[in-house]
């Protein structure tokens, strides 16, 4: 037993001695590792740069048109940090729109004035003294509802763009601000009577504005401007039909974009509202130019035209010269409605 115990003791002692002998070696080995590491160039184990993966404004703006993030305060809209498109819209509103609007509207007025000076008022041969009804009271109501709304909307709308250039210097800041505030509300609320009026017009006159073959003929015959030729037309001639369809298209565009602006952030963000404003402004200017032409034709441009919308009745000769197909139809209808054979006037020519 002792022999065994002695043997074990000797073994232990040897192992301990070896360990003791190894310890410095191990330490040296560890030290050498540390020293080796120390000897390496310093930048390889440099501290991690907090900037290495930081978001950069320029990179974000290259990826998207605006920078958006998370926000602690209520109101998701405030989470948009930067949207440089505001500058672009500013340029559109202050430079592009001013020039475009001025050229389009002033140009239209100049063209109409030239037309009046060169071509003159479109006259018809002579009054027969016999009247025929062209528009019912309801049709005239619909037209004038739309017309009055349009003129007021046009003026109050143009005020937002051109008022500060034209009106502000004349009446002063306080008066102009008060006027513009009222104009803003008038513009916002009268838009509804315009929408109703336009819907009525579109429905009432849809059937008579469907393009027909006779419209091509109307253009070929000089659109009523060549004395020697007769341009045939139904209830509405090709020119009027163009006004109808263009007004419908422009109406849809201004009503759609206008409603988006009337209810901010209902399905839109700032960028979409900017686009809506651009559409609203450009289409409105073109719409006003179109209606200037329409007003010209209805008043200065053509003799006897205003009566149609004024009193609802036109002279028989006027109808025969400008709307022969419609007149024939109307007279036929009148005859069938009055079978007693009251004296109905025959069309001129």
């Amino acid at each position: 037993m002792t022999c065994d115990a002695d043997g074990v003791t000797i073994m232990m002692t040897i192992l301990v001695r070896i360990r003791h002998a190894l310890a410095p070696l191990a330490f040296l080995a560890m030290l050498s590792v540390v020293l080796q590491a120390d000897a390496q160039p310093i930048n390889e184990n440099a501290p991690v740069s907090p900037d290495a993966s930081a978001v950069k404004e320029q990179t974000l703006l290259q990826e998207e048109s605006r920078i958006q993030g998370r926000i602690d305060i209520p109101g998701r809209r405030a989470s948009v940090l930067i949207q440089p498109a505001g500058r672009t819209w500013d340029h559109f509103h202050e430079t592009t729109l001013h020039w475009f609007g001025a050229i389009a509207l002033f140009g239209t007025i100049v063209l109409l004035a030239l037309g009046y000076l060169v071509l003159g008022k479109l006259r018809f041969s002579k009054r027969s003294g016999i009247k025929i009804r062209r528009f019912t009271p309801f049709e005239r109501f619909s037209h004038w509802l739309t017309a009055v709304s349009f003129v007021v909307l046009g003026i109050t709308g143009l005020n937002i763009t051109f008022g500060k250039l034209l009106l502000l210097p004349i009446i002063g800041a306080e008066a102009f601000s008060a006027f513009s505030q009222a104009a803003k509300y008038v513009h916002n609320f009268l838009s509804f009577s315009f929408m109703i009026g336009l819907c009525l017009i579109v429905v009432l006159w849809f059937k008579d504005n469907i393009p027909k073959m006779v419209d091509i003929e109307w253009f070929k015959q000089g659109a009523g401007y060549i004395k020697s030729k007769h341009a045939p037309a139904g209830r509405f001639n090709a020119g009027e039909k163009m006004v109808y369809w263009l007004a419908l298209a422009a109406g849809i565009a201004v009503i759609g974009s206008g409603l988006l602006l009337l209810f901010p952030f209902y399905g839109t963000n700032i960028l979409e509202m900017q686009i809506a404003q651009v559409i609203h402004a450009i289409i409105s200017i073109l719409f006003i130019a179109l209606i200037l032409g329409h007003i010209y034709m209805g008043t200065l441009g053509m003799e006897g035209a205003f009566e149609a919308m004024g009193t609802g009745e036109v002279d028989l000769n006027w109808a025969a010269e400008h709307h022969d197909l419609w007149l024939a139809e109307a007279l036929a209808k009148e005859r069938s409605a009055e079978p007693l054979g009251q004296p109905t006037p025959a069309p001129a020519k």
Binding site: E57, R70, V80, P264
Partner: protein, 200 residues
């Protein structure tokens, strides 16, 4: 005269929102309006940054340009102020602002937004009220600038992330910081607001 600017050092901003609170308190801003806000970009991802943003008081301020009644104007110190007496609440400055600064008391269906409100750089209002008067305070908030003080949001920023003051000086401070620490995510909004970059 010094050209006043804001600069948010996003590498220092800790999203504590103290600037937001200080602004609301100092100017007694109405409920629902926050003249200043902190937006965190890449939230929770490596390299996220928080940026405190209010009106930047832009050079060639787009809000002032588009205002249909010309009620917004820059002062001699480049602070963009407006007159609430002339404002018609049309919302155009809000469309034009690259920083979402203009705010309105109401949502604004049918154009009923009310008078625009925005950061005044703690410089009172652009109306006819007397400088430092109660009327001015009620309408626009504090006029610290007239007292020789800078906007409170920047003055009390705990990490000095948000800097306000002479544009050249705060740009210099930022430049030195970037040089010293070796990185910087840039002066957010400076290119859009002032057409300039702080190159280090």
């Amino acid at each position: 005269m010094a050209r006043m600017k804001f600069l948010c050092d996003a590498d220092r901003c800790i999203d504590c929102n103290a600037c937001v609170t200080a602004c609301k308190n100092e100017n007694e801003v109405p409920w629902g309006i926050n003249r200043r806000r902190v937006v965190t970009i890449n939230d929770g991802k490596p390299g996220e940054r928080s940026v405190s943003m209010a009106c930047m008081h832009c050079t060639d301020a787009p809000c002032a340009a588009v205002c249909p009644v010309s009620c917004i104007f820059p002062t001699e110190e480049g602070v963009v102020l407006h007159s609430k007496d002339l404002c018609i609440g049309c919302g155009y400055c809000f469309y034009a602002c690259p920083f979402g600064a203009p705010q309105y008391p109401r949502i604004g269906n049918f154009g009923s937004r009310g008078k625009m409100d925005k950061c005044t750089y703690c410089a009172g209002g652009g109306g006819n009220e007397e400088t430092g008067s109660t009327e001015e305070f009620k309408k626009y908030g504090a006029n610290r600038l007239a007292q020789g003080k800078l906007p409170l949001c920047a003055e009390m920023c705990s990490t000095k992330s948000l800097l306000a003051g002479d544009g050249d000086i705060i740009a210099q401070i930022y430049k030195e910081r970037v040089l010293k620490r070796g990185y910087g995510s840039g002066a957010w909004g400076w290119m859009t607001a002032y057409h300039e970059k702080i190159s280090v």
